[in-house]
C-alpha cells in the first residue's frame, strides 16, 4: 500500500474532532462511543504503519502537498515514530474507554474534541521532520493540555492551568526564537537539511539556537527548573488526561529534544549542550524523588515519580552514545506502560472512593482486590524490581551512564531510586496491611485494561529481549543522523 496513506494518522483525528460539533446533539453516550471508535481506528492505522516500517526496515516519508523537502514539509515515520505513534494511539484508546466512567463534567463534546486533538498533537510532534512544523504541533499539544488541565473547573484546576499556561507560553516563545535563529543561520527548516548544514553553522549561533530550543522544550519535557507546573497539572486534570500526559505528551517533548540535539551534532560547541541537559536531568530525578516522598496524595506522589522517571530518560538521551539512547527509548516505552497503568488504577480508585488521598487507599486490597493487585504490580515495576520491565531499562540506563563517564550522576540517580522504593512500598503497605472495608464491584472494562497492562509489564520483565531489539532500532533512528539524512528525499535546493 502507498506510504502516503500514513498521513491519515494526522488527518483522521483532525477531521473527527471537527465533526464532533455536528453530533453533539445526540447526547453524552453517542459522543463517548464516537471517541472510542475514532481512537480504535487510529490504533488500526498506527498498527498498519508500525508493521509497514518494521517489516521493510525503511521509514515512511509523507510529503505533504507532494512537495519534496526542504521546500515542503515532510513527516518522517521511522522506527522511533512508528513505535511511538502506536503507543500514543493505544494509550488514547484505553483512556477513551476509561473516560466513559471517569469524566462526567460537562460539556462532554468539547472534552472529546480536545482529547482527539491532544492525541493528534503528540502524533504530529513525533512524526514531523520539520522544525517549524514541530513548533505548530507542540502548540497544538500544549494548548489542548492547558484547556484539559483546567477542564474540571475547580479553583485548583484553574490555578494549575494558569501556571502551565504562563510557563508554557514563555517556553514556546523561546522555542520560536531558537527556530528563527537556526533558520537564520542555515536558511532551511527541514531537519534533514539542517543536519546536513550543521557543520557549516556559526558556532555561537548554533549553540544559542539549540539552547533556546531545549529551554523551550524543557517545559513540555518537565525538566527541573521548568517543571513546577507538572505536579499541579497532573493532580488537577481529569484522570484519563493525566495518564495521557505522563504516557505520551511528555515523551513527545523528550523525543523532540533528543531529535533536535542529535541533528545538530556536527555543530561546534555541541558537547557543552549535552552537559547542560545531563545536569538538568540529574537534578530533575533527585528533586522529584524527594518531593514525592513528602506527598499525602497518591496521584500527586505518582506525578512526582513520573517526573523523576522522565529525568532519567532525559539523562539517557543526552549521554551522546548509542547505548544510552537505546536505553532511554526502552525506558520511554516501559514508563508509558507503567504510568498508564498507575494513573488508570489510581484514577479509578479516585472516582470510586471519592479522592486520591492516601487514607482512601487503606484496605484497598480487601475492597477492590483487582485494582489493588494491578496497582501493586505497577508500583513494584516503577521501583525497578527484577522480573518487572523497568528493572531492565533502569539497569541499561545506569550502565550506559557509567560507560559514558557520568558516574557522579549515576550515583545520584541510584540514591534517588532508594527514595522511590520507600514511598511506593509505603503505598503498597497501606493498601494491603492497613484498614478494612466492604468489597466493591469493579468495572469490567477498566479491569481488563488494567490486567492487560499489568500482564505486559510482567511479560516484558521476563522476556525483555524482543522489546530490546525493537527499541535498539528505534534508538538507531535518533542516533544515526547520517542514516536519517539519507532517507529524507532532499531536492538539493541552493547547494
Amino acid at each position: 500500500m502507498n506510504g502516503q496513506y500514513a498521513s491519515l494518522l494526522i488527518a483522521l483525528p483532525l477531521i473527527s474532532a471537527f465533526f464532533v460539533p455536528l453530533i453533539k446533539g445526540l447526547g453524552r453516550k453517542a459522543v463517548m462511543g464516537y471517541l472510542v471508535l475514532i481512537t480504535a481506528i487510529q490504533t488500526g492505522i498506527a498498527g498498519w504503519v508500525f508493521s509497514e516500517v518494521y517489516s521493510t526496515g525503511k521509514p515512511i516519508i509523507v510529503m505533504a502537498g507532494g512537495w519534496k523537502p526542504p521546500v515542503g514539509i515532510n513527516l518522517y515515520i521511522g522506527h522511533f515514530a512508528a513505535l511511538f505513534v502506536l503507543i500514543v494511539a493505544i494509550v488514547s484508546f484505553f483512556m477513551a474507554i476509561f473516560s466513559y466512567k471517569a469524566v462526567t463534567v460537562e460539556p462532554i463534546d468539547k472534552y472529546a474534541m480536545l482529547f482527539l486533538l491532544l492525541m493528534l498533537g503528540a502524533t504530529g510532534m513525533i512524526a514531523t521532520g520539520d522544525i517549524f512544523n514541530l513548533f505548530v504541533f507542540m502548540e497544538i499539544t500544549s494548548i489542548t493540555a492547558y484547556a484539559l488541565t483546567a477542564y474540571n473547573k475547580t479553583g485548583e484546576a484553574a490555578e494549575a492551568s494558569m501556571k502551565y499556561i504562563v510557563l508554557g507560553g514563555i517556553g514556546s516563545s523561546f522555542f520560536l526564537i531558537g527556530v528563527a535563529l537556526i533558520y537564520g543561520a542555515t536558511g532551511t527548516l527541514n531537519m534533514g537539511h539542517i543536519a546536513q548544514l550543521a557543520g557549516t553553522m556559526n558556532a555561537t549561533a548554533a549553540q544559542v539556537g539549540l539552547a533556546l530550543v531545549i529551554f523551550g522544550l524543557a517545559v513540555e519535557a518537565e525538566l527541573f527548573p521548568l517543571n513546577a507546573w507538572a505536579p499541579d497539572a497532573y493532580q488537577a486534570a481529569p484522570h484519563p488526561i493525566t495518564a495521557m500526559f505522563s504516557a505520551f505528551v511528555v515523551k513527545a517533548g523528550l523525543y523532540a529534544m533528543a531529535r533536535l540535539i542529535y541533528i545538530l551534532q556536527n555543530a561546534n560547541g555541541w558537547s557543552d549542550i549535552l552537559k547542560l541537559v545531563i545536569a538538568l536531568a540529574t537534578l530533575t530525578v533527585v528533586v522529584a524523588e524527594f518531593s514525592a516522598l513528602r506527598q499525602r496524595d497518591v496521584k500527586r506522589m505518582i506525578a512526582y515519580s513520573s517526573i523523576s522517571q522522565v529525568g532519567m530518560i532525559a539523562f539517557a538521551l543526552a549521554l551522546g552514545t548509542q547505548a544510552g539512547i537505546s536505553a532511554g527509548v526502552f525506558h520511554m516505552v516501559n514508563h508509558a506502560i507503567v504510568k498508564a497503568l498507575l494513573f488508570l488504577t489510581v484514577g479509578y480508585v479516585g472516582i470510586t472512593l471519592g479522592g486520591t488521598k492516601i487514607e482512601n487507599f487503606a484496605g484497598l486490597g480487601k475492597r477492590m482486590p483487582l485494582t489493588a493487585l494491578t496497582l501493586t504490580i505497577g508500583s513494584l515495576a516503577a521501583v525497578g524490581i527484577p522480573l518487572f520491565n523497568i528493572f531492565w531499562s533502569k539497569v541499561r540506563i545506569l550502565l550506559a551512564g557509567v560507560e559514558a563517564g557520568y558516574s557522579w550522576s549515576v550515583a545520584l540517580i541510584l540514591g534517588a531510586s532508594v527514595v522511590e522504593a520507600v514511598y511506593y512500598l509505603r503505598l503498597i503497605h497501606t493498601m494491603w496491611f492497613v484498614g478494612n472495608g466492604e468489597r466493591i464491584r469493579e468495572n469490567f472494562a477498566i479491569g481488563v485494561i488494567a490486567i492487560f497492562l499489568a500482564a505486559l509489564i510482567v511479560v516484558i520483565g521476563i522476556y525483555p529481549n524482543d522489546l530490546w531489539t525493537l527499541v535498539q532500532k528505534a534508538g538507531q533512528d535518533i542516533f544515526n543522523v547520517a542514516n536519517y539524512i539519507s532517507h529524507v528525499p532532499l531536492m538539493g535546493v541552493g547547494s
Binding site: 502507498n2 502516503q4 498521513s7 494526522i10 488527518a11 483532525l14 477531521i15 474532532a17 471537527f18 465533526f19 460539533p21 455536528l22 509523507v62 510529503m63 505533504a64 502537498g65 507532494g66 512537495w67 526542504p70 521546500v71 515542503g72 514539509i73 460537562e106 460539556p107 468539547k110 472534552y111 474534541m113 480536545l114 486533538l117 493528534l120 504530529g124 517549524f132 512544523n133 505548530v136 504541533f137 502548540e139 497544538i140 494548548i143 489542548t144 484547556a147 483546567a150 477542564y151 473547573k153 535563529l181 537564520g184 543561520a185 542555515t186 536558511g187 537539511h193 553553522m201 556559526n202 558556532a203 555561537t204 549561533a205 548554533a206 544559542v208 539556537g209 535546493v493 541552493g494 547547494s495
Partner: protein, 238 residues
C-alpha cells in the same frame, strides 16, 4: 511592592540574556544572503501554484501542513474557552445600550465590514491578506454588534456547525488531494486539472488557494465570534 533587590536582579539577568542572544544573533549577519529555500519559492511560485502572492502560496500550498495546524490551534482555543466557561445557563448581562450614533453606525457599517473581510480572503492569492485577516475582520463586525446592542447574540447552532464543517472541508480538500494526486494536501485543482493556468493573476486562478482561504476565512470568522460570545456571557440563576 517589588523590592529594589529583586528588581535589580531581574534587570541584570535580563541584560545577561540579552547580551547572550545578541552574541548568537551576531552569528547571523544581517543582509547576508541565506535564502536557500527562499529563492526556490520566489522563482517557482507562479508556475507551480498559480498564486501571485508568494506568502499565501507558501502558507497554503508549499507549507500547507503548518496552516492546517494553525487552524487547529485556533479551533482548540475556541473549544477550550467554550469548555472552561461552560455553565448550564448563561446570558448576556450588559446594562447600557450604545448611543443612537453608535447603534446606527454599527448597523450601517456591519455589511461593509463583512464584505471587506470576504474580499480579503477571496483575494488571498492576489493581494496581501488571506484567510486569517479576512476571518478576523468578519469577527470584528460581530464584535461591534455585541458592543452596540445589549441583547445581541450570534446564531449559535449555525456558527458551531459552520465551524465544524469548514474545518472538515479543509481536511477533505487535503484528502481529495491524497486520492487524486497521491499526496495529502496535494493541489489537485492546479496540478492535476490545470484549472486556471491561462488565467494567472486573475480571480479564477491560484489552484486550491482561494478555496482553502475561503474555508479558513469562514472558520476563523465563526471561531473568533464564538470566543467573543463566550467571554461576554455571565452565569445567571435558574
Amino acid at each position: 511592592m517589588v523590592s529594589l533587590l529583586k528588581r535589580s536582579l531581574a534587570i541584570i539577568s535580563i541584560l545577561i540574556i540579552g547580551y547572550w542572544l545578541a552574541q548568537g544573533l551576531a552569528g547571523v549577519p544581517f543582509g547576508q544572503d541565506k535564502m536557500l529555500v527562499g529563492h526556490y519559492y520566489l522563482q517557482h511560485v507562479k508556475e507551480q501554484t498559480g498564486a501571485v502572492n508568494a506568502v499565501t502560496a507558501i502558507v497554503v500550498n508549499y507549507r500547507g501542513f503548518d496552516t492546517l495546524g494553525e487552524v487547529t490551534v485556533l479551533f482548540i482555543a475556541s473549544t477550550g474557552v467554550g469548555a472552561l466557561l461552560w455553565r448550564k445557563k448563561r446570558e448576556r448581562t450588559a446594562k447600557t445600550e450604545g448611543s443612537v450614533v453608535l447603534t446606527t453606525g454599527v448597523e450601517l457599517l456591519f455589511p461593509f465590514i463583512v464584505m471587506f473581510g470576504s474580499y480579503i480572503f477571496i483575494h488571498g492569492h492576489l493581494t496581501p491578506g488571506g484567510g486569517f485577516p479576512g476571518g478576523a475582520t468578519i469577527a470584528t463586525a460581530f464584535l461591534l454588534l455585541y458592543m452596540a446592542f445589549i441583547s445581541y447574540e450570534i446564531p449559535h447552532r449555525l456558527f458551531e456547525n459552520l465551524e465544524g464543517i469548514a474545518g472538515m472541508s479543509y481536511v477533505l480538500v487535503g484528502l481529495i488531494g491524497l486520492a487524486i494526486g497521491g499526496y495529502f494536501l496535494f493541489d489537485w485543482i492546479w496540478q492535476t486539472w490545470h484549472w486556471g493556468t491561462s488565467n494567472l493573476g486573475r480571480l479564477f486562478s491560484g489552484g486550491f488557494i482561494p478555496v482553502i482561504y475561503t474555508i479558513i476565512g469562514i472558520k476563523v470568522g465563526t471561531e473568533l465570534s464564538g470566543i467573543v460570545d463566550n467571554m461576554l456571557k455571565e452565569e445567571v440563576g435558574e
